[in-house]
């Protein structure tokens, strides 16, 4: 079955590369449709922007097309494709879509409301499916076909890296969270104190998303900015390169973050993981996602690093399963649901 995957920028491209590879392993033929070339050269690639693709005749070469965009385009694309197909007097292609990140609560509602015009919704786990059910109850969309396909948008397959010899704590730095430069300064100072008190540990401040190659452009709301402007940073604190994110998490002995999606990859790769709980459950810090994780700790409870980090409790398995980790055959489920919708 030929499946097209329309994406543009991150996190869409990264997620679609993972999904495309997984669909190919199930015997489908996945093609990425994006203006930027995918990293994975073995995937088919159609160099078209999202709107050109939606209006293009080429879309009819696929049995179904997944649209994994965020923002305004995600709402426009089905209308654009339907209109283009109508003008050509052809049936529109089956379009599927869903959240590209492990969203929950308000963020999930906002994301799903923009995708209601798609023929099939791909969700990650039971938690999202339940929230969609509440959202659509009593509406004409109530019986919209869905498929829960697991944590497809995050790297969760074993990567085969060995941990570093020296224990490594990867701090996932979200460049704009917390949104106050002062809050980041205080957090940076506390991490430096933790590093000084555990000299056997390396601390890597790892941007969890794109950060300018020019450090002078880094936002003051990133911890990395504060390291850059520190005249005497501890020798065991370094800044990681944004493109090394996956490697960094794979190499880590432990991961710490405020609400980064990559904390989930760390969890499923078996890393000691702590979600910084000092700010409490805050919607803007992704608190609702991690509330039931069993991973939230105050920074003080993780110190000294060498004693506390190796013994952090594992994630709550029920929570992780509800997010989608329980689903091992996501791509097969998606293909079966596509076939059912086409029948």
């Amino acid at each position: 079955m030929r499946i097209g995957l329309i994406c543009d920028g991150n996190p869409g491209i990264g997620a679609c590369e993972l999904l495309g590879a997984a669909l190919n392993r199930c015997g489908a033929e996945a093609t990425l449709i994006s203006s930027a070339r995918p990293h994975n050269k073995s995937l088919g690639w159609l160099p078209l922007g999202p709107r050109e693709a939606a209006a293009s005749d080429l879309l009819h070469s696929f049995a179904a097309v997944g649209v994994f965009l965020e923002g305004e385009s995600v709402t426009i694309l089905p209308k654009l494709h339907q209109q283009a197909a109508a003008l050509r007097q052809r049936e529109p292609v089956l379009l599927f879509s869903g959240p590209i990140r492990p969203l929950c609560g308000d963020a999930l509602n906002a994301d799903l409301l923009a995708r209601l015009d798609y023929d099939l919704l791909c969700l990650q786990g039971d938690m999202q499916a339940e929230q969609l059910q509440w959202l659509l109850r009593g509406t004409p969309y109530e019986h919209k076909p869905i498929s829960t396909i697991g944590l497809w948008c995050l790297p969760t397959r074993p990567v085969g890296h060995r941990q570093q010899q020296q224990p490594l704590l990867v701090v996932l730095d979200q460049p704009h969270t917390p949104p106050s430069p002062l809050a980041n300064a205080v957090l940076y100072e506390r991490l430096c104190n933790a590093a000084r008190n555990s000299p056997s540990w390396q601390i890597r401040l790892q941007p969890d998303g794109p950060l300018s190659a020019d450090p002078s452009q880094w936002p003051e709301t990133s911890i990395c900015w504060h390291h850059l402007h520190d005249q005497r940073p501890p020798a065991n604190v370094q800044v990681g390169q944004p493109e090394d994110l996956e490697w960094a998490v794979a190499q880590a002995s432990a991961c710490l973050g405020l609400g980064s999606d990559w904390l989930l990859s760390a969890v499923v790769w078996g890393k000691s993981t702590a979600v910084l709980g000092d700010y409490g459950i805050r919607t803007e810090f992704n608190g609702p996602l991690f509330f039931g994780s069993g991973l939230m700790h105050r920074l003080a409870d993780c110190l000294p690093l060498d004693q506390k980090l190796p013994d952090l409790p594992a994630a709550n398995p029920g929570w992780l399963d509800d997010l989608g980790w329980a689903i091992a055959d996501g791509p097969e489920r998606l293909l079966r649901q596509v076939e059912k919708c086409l029948a």
């Binding site: 109850r137 009593g138 957090l187 459950i281 608190g287 039931g292 939230m296 709550n316």
Partner: protein, 443 residues
């Protein structure tokens, strides 16, 4: 049923109005109610007057209230404050009961209307109350999902419904004696829904055009607050100013009215709103609600909540108000699910309080490795108060820990910074001096 006398505590205008509605409901169940309106700048005088007419009214600060000997005479205390204040009150009250060796009364809390956003955060602030009042099955299911797999699954809840005018939901559903009402549509303005100036102008324009197309009707905009009053959300441009900017001159049958909303609902045939709880007040008072659907279903506007209501209409597409009111009827299944049904009322709260015994006293387990609850001790003020207690016990390490977290939350607060520097001094004399030089925190 035993005699109850409940104390309800609130501060902002919307919380006070929620308490007023609760008091009206409780009175119909023969319960006594006292409301304590914590003094706060900007609280509309009309709200205070309305409370005075409803029940006994106190105006005490939290500190005065905790010292009030009559507190022990109530059967339960309901707290309707914003998140961090809710947690602070629970903690301060239990602390004060321990100090004075008094029996703690059951504490309950709830929501002042619909919960359109930040539900999980709101629950995290309320955990640890003996009872959390929820609107209906929808919120109960959501809460069950939030707490599933966590150590908080035993948190007690009770469904108290969305009927707020003391009449009960069933009466409200026997909608509208249309002929006895004026051809008037009331628009219940919300301060931040929508919040973008262009969208606020669009709302006003939609109403004006509808008024023009319906010369036999009157369209009345009911501002959420008067220009000099304040509410929880800051209002950038008052709706009267939006009206002036968007329309220049308004149609003669479009007006602003500061009359109390219940009064307007009594008179009017239609209520229009983007996503206000006033929708349910309208049902209570026999006025037909219609939800403004011109912005689509959006999380940030709260319109998603009403998706299955059967009440959403596009004002821009309606021929006139006569056409708009045709066929409007709320879906009974949806009303039940969100909590507008006789199954859900304050009577449930009273039954739950009757079945409550001090053994059931709900506290958050002390050891919760891996779980953080906003309600335990995470408000900055509580952290600072905890640090002062630790300082008084000379447990400087604990004080340092608490102040470090407080500083993470309020990095720009110089007093926390100075206090933290003081407790970090290893030299006893220096520490003593630094503590004397820095400001002691008092609630």
């Amino acid at each position: 049923m035993m005699d109850h006398h409940l104390l309800l505590i609130a501060d902002s205008d919307s919380q006070l109005l929620a308490c007023k509605a609760l008091a009206q409901g409780l009175r119909t169940c023969n319960s006594g109610v006292t409301i304590n309106a914590i003094p706060q700048e900007g609280t509309p005088e009309s709200v205070i007057q309305a409370l005075n007419q409803t029940c006994e009214l106190w105006r005490k600060t939290t500190a005065q209230l905790l010292r009030e000997p009559r507190l022990a005479g109530f059967s339960a205390i309901g707290v309707y404050l914003t998140g961090s204040k809710l947690a602070e009150f629970r903690s301060s009250y239990h602390h004060s009961c321990e100090q004075h060796q008094r029996r703690a009364l059951p504490l309950f809390c709830g929501f002042n209307g619909l919960v359109l956003e930040r539900f999980e955060e709101a629950i995290a602030w309320r955990l640890g109350y003996d009872l959390i009042c929820l609107n209906g099955p929808r919120d109960q299911e959501r809460m069950e999902q939030v707490l599933r797999h966590t150590p908080f699954t035993s948190q007690r809840t009770v469904l108290t419904g969305l009927s707020r005018q003391g009449r009960g939901a069933a009466k409200g559903q026997q909608i509208v004696q249309q002929q006895s009402k004026q051809r008037q549509l009331v628009f219940a303005e919300q301060v931040v829904m929508p919040s973008k100036p262009a969208e606020r102008r669009l709302v006003v324009q939609l109403l004006a055009r509808l008024a023009q197309r319906s010369p036999h009707w009157r369209v009345t905009i009911k501002p959420r607050v008067a220009p000099h009053e304040t509410t929880f959300h800051a209002v950038e441009t008052h709706i009267s100013e939006t009206l002036r900017v968007a329309l220049g001159s308004s149609p003669s049958n479009l007006q602003l009215s500061y009359a109390p909303l219940p009064e307007l609902l009594h008179q009017s045939r239609l209520l229009a709103t983007v996503s206000s709880t006033a929708c349910f007040d309208a049902l209570d008072l026999g006025c037909q609600p219609v939800l403004v659907g011109d912005f689509g279903l959006r999380q940030d506007l709260g319109t998603h909540f009403f998706a299955g209501s059967g009440l959403i209409r596009q004002l821009g597409e309606a021929e006139d108000l006569d056409a708009l009111e045709q066929g409007l009827c709320a879906t009974p299944d949806w009303l039940h699910w969100v909590g507008y049904h006789n199954d859900f009322s304050v009577a449930n709260l009273l039954s739950a309080l009757e079945n409550w015994s001090s053994e059931q006293h709900h506290t958050i387990p002390a050891q919760l490795s891996g779980y953080v609850v906003n309600a335990s001790d995470l408000s900055t003020n509580q952290l600072r108060r905890g640090a002062e207690i630790s300082i008084s016990c000379r447990d400087y390490a604990e004080a340092e820990r608490l102040l470090e977290i407080a500083l993470l939350q309020r990095p720009d607060n110089r007093n926390i910074k100075r206090r933290l520097q003081a407790v970090r001094c290893s030299n006893r004399l220096m520490r003593r001096l630094a503590l004397l030089a820095s400001q002691t925190f008092r609630l």
